[in-house]
Amino acid sequence: MTGGDRQVFNNRTINKNAAPLNGDRARIQGEDTRKVKAPDFAYERPESLDQVFDLLERHGDEARILAGGQSLLATLNMRLSSPGLLVDIGRVPGLAGVARAGQTIRIGAMTRHCDLAAAPPVQAHLPLLARAVPHIAHPAIRNRGTIGGSVALADPAAELPACCLAMGATMVLASRGGERRVAAADFFQGLFRTVLEPHELLAAIEVPVPPAGSVAGFDELARRHGDYAIVGLAAQGVPAGAGWQGLALAFFGADDRPVLATAAAAVLAEGGGIAAAQAALDRDLDPPGDLNGDPATKRHLARVLLGRVVGAMAEGR
């Protein structure tokens, strides 16, 4: 910036006045005289997993992990959540990145959505994730949001938990005592509930490399691009004649957690066709109504999605 520009834009340069703005002292002490929106909380930024475990053990349920923050910050701003302590894991080394080891692809919990979709092992082997990521919110949110945050939050209408279910992923839960592994099907326990214990951190997600010939399908219905889905479907399987091998249909937005449609998948596996699978879907899904639609609407939309997604997969699209 030139001196002349500085003159011209003087009213837009940073205020260098050392004196606190009116109200600053109150704000810093958490007694804001203006409208600070988030509730008061403490904040720690550990730089190692050991420090994370220290904080989790010391603060228990009071501590919330801050990963990408793209859901948590919104709930804080709206005062829908009031943790005593935020544990910002953004600078803990080793938590981000995607790497293949044998037949497993390990995705670090702090891998951001934008990096996930672009990661070579994802591009080469996990097309389901590459298809799903563009549906997550908007570019600026994908630049910050993380897979671990999405999975640990367990929003039933979120894309990545359903993808994990469809891919047969395993959650790696780290604590002072070491790691334990939980299948995606067992990890999600209900609305924003998982098996994560207060002293544990979701460290990574391990995804088996799909067998040769596997195809993926993903779609969702939302009122606006980037909104949470009314209903969505993440699917993966290997075409075999008129049927399928290892077909997994994971619906989201259709219950209090992502749901595997096993009856519909069994019909398709045996070559029963899409119409029969759509009929079988009533045995798999029992969607509660919400602001986006009543149960009958959601069942209808799920059938529509099944037809679109599986139809596209069968045609190799």
């Binding site: 837009r12 810093i28 600070v36 403490a42 919104a74």
Partner: protein
């Protein structure tokens, strides 16, 4: 300040539009309140404060982010660019001129965030289709101009940068 409240504040140093800034911030302050209130950089706007409207979109370490979904403490050590810096540097002068020429703003509330998003799209994709432009700015709400003129402006800028008749 007593010890009990020390975990409620934090000293941060960051670079805002190229200037080094050190401040003590309440940890619950999000980045845009910090920029607007503490630094008086009011070009970044606040609409919904839940990540939906995009009015607060700024650049942090080179990528567009929602300023309302990031705490100021999380930006400790980061390079932050706001519409003030992007304007002063001239980096998006052509895009701004196209917004002007195409009447792609009226009240201007969404414009700073819209420009940051559009600039990121054009940096990654020099020849976006109109559908790609619409998808990319789908997280930036405009409540007065409507999107058609905004898409026009972004498309015009992309074409001009490719050397294809920018005046349109």
């Amino acid at each position: 300040m007593d010890g009990a409240s020390m975990d409620r504040v934090r000293d941060v140093t960051l670079w805002v539009n190229g200037e080094r800034v050190s401040r003590r911030v309440a940890v619950r302050t999000h980045l845009v309140d910090f920029l607007r209130v503490e630094l008086e950089l009011t070009g970044s706007h606040l609409g919904c404060e839940q990540g939906v409207c995009g009015a607060c979109t700024v650049r942090v370490d080179g990528v567009a982010v929602r300023g309302c979904l990031m705490l100021a403490v999380q930006a400790d050590g980061a390079r932050v660019e706001t519409i003030e810096g992007l304007s002063d540097s001239g980096a998006i002068a052509d895009l701004q001129a196209a917004f002007h020429a195409r009447n792609a703003l009226q009240c201007g509330y969404c414009t700073p965030g819209m420009l940051v998003s559009a600039a990121e799209l054009l940096a990654a994709n020099p020849a976006p289709t109109r559908d790609e432009i619409r998808a990319h700015i789908s997280g930036n709400y405009c409540r007065c101009t409507g999107y058609h003129a905004i898409v026009d402006a972004i498309e015009t800028t992309a074409a001009a940068r490719r050397g294809e008749g920018g005046a349109a």
